[in-house]
Amino acid sequence: MSELALFFEQVWAILWKDLRSEFRNRQMLIGMGMFALLVLIIFNFAFDLRVDNKAAVAPGALWVAFVFASLLGLGRTIAAEREQGSLDRLLLSPVSRKAIYLAKLLGNVLFIGIVELVAVPVFAILFDVPLATGLLIPIVLLGTLGIAAVGTLFSALTASSQTREMLLPILIFPLIVPIVIGAVRATGSLMIAVSNEPPWLGLIAAFDVIFLSISLLTFEYIVDE
């Protein structure tokens, strides 16, 4: 078997294991989903949404829900393996650390994506906003990828810390600011057309590439001793 084929077999094996484990207990997915829905409901009641300010408030509420819900899942990415002791067994095997990162990242993107699939229709109903779903998909996909790329890396960094629940948001939030700003503005532009808008999707994609590259290169130094 070639090195590349083995690499992707390892990525798939870890991803399959994570999906299988999560779909059997569903604790994390239910927690993330409930959290996202609650944030949307609270925002809906907290703001006086009129037609003229909806486009300014609603995208922010949507992305706050996504980011907060994501943090719940991201925090468990490596911490769950470490608590079970299975991280050592994973690191003992001749698996590329890049394969571990990639599998964990894909798992996070998938879990966050499932939550987003549930949250977006609820958002559209609660906030009564027209959403061009076809155009929203690339924004959500790229935004989620960026958040998950940073989150997966830092979940490994904070996994052994007793204060990881506090530490993870403190580390992640400053880094994902550009992605969140880009995603909020791009989502807003779907509701009200604005002329001369910067290419937000391009900005998010650029940050995704930067975060992914840095994470892939540094992950092994974080998970290995």
């Binding site: 077999e9 094996a13 299988r20 003992l92 001749p94």
Partner: protein
Amino acid sequence: MSGPYLELRGLKKSFGLKPILRGVDLDIQRGERVALLGANGTGKTTLLRLLAGLLKPDGGTICLEGVDVRREQQHLRRQVGFVGHQPYLYTELSVLENLVFFGHLYGVKQSEAQAMKLLEQVGLGQRARERVGVLSRGQLQRVALVRALLHSPDLLLFDEPDTGLDDAGVALLEKTLQTQAAQNGVVLFTTHQLEHAFAFSDRMVVLHQGRIVFQYASAALNMESFRRAYQKVVQ
């Protein structure tokens, strides 16, 4: 005569300011079973974790068949099978799913068939489809043993593998170690049971305060005399 399979020279490891290993020198030949003894906190587990590549030494070298493992970490990982005193399996997955998962990580061909064959050998063939969470402590340790053997490693590192095993489990462990040595493999294991150390090993090595203070062929030792001397050292 060819060199040792495993060669440790001046191996040092500290955690923070506390030195755990203060310069360990050890050679192990192919086909040899070595029991590593010592009181709690003398560095036995640290030594095994260094050999498994889970920790990096602060000083000294580890050579496997003459190759420094720092240059060939993946080569080392492919050759090592590790059993700790905790099995650390994925509780949401079945026994077979756990083993097939690790089989994929090691690139084992036909990992399901191989896993089933080994599970039959340890008496867990009937429980392959059950979730790991429902198994007893001893059964989990047997699954961990199968996981360590799945990729046919040359070097078995067992950290108190007899923990939680009943008599049948201990007999199984002994057979596994014998088979490994008979197939020209190498076994390094830790235990607090002197009887097991005598029965399962070709050589006894005693670690004390981060250094090897004694090593001798097990067959040439008298267990009671050794026990008295050993207890003086560990106390």
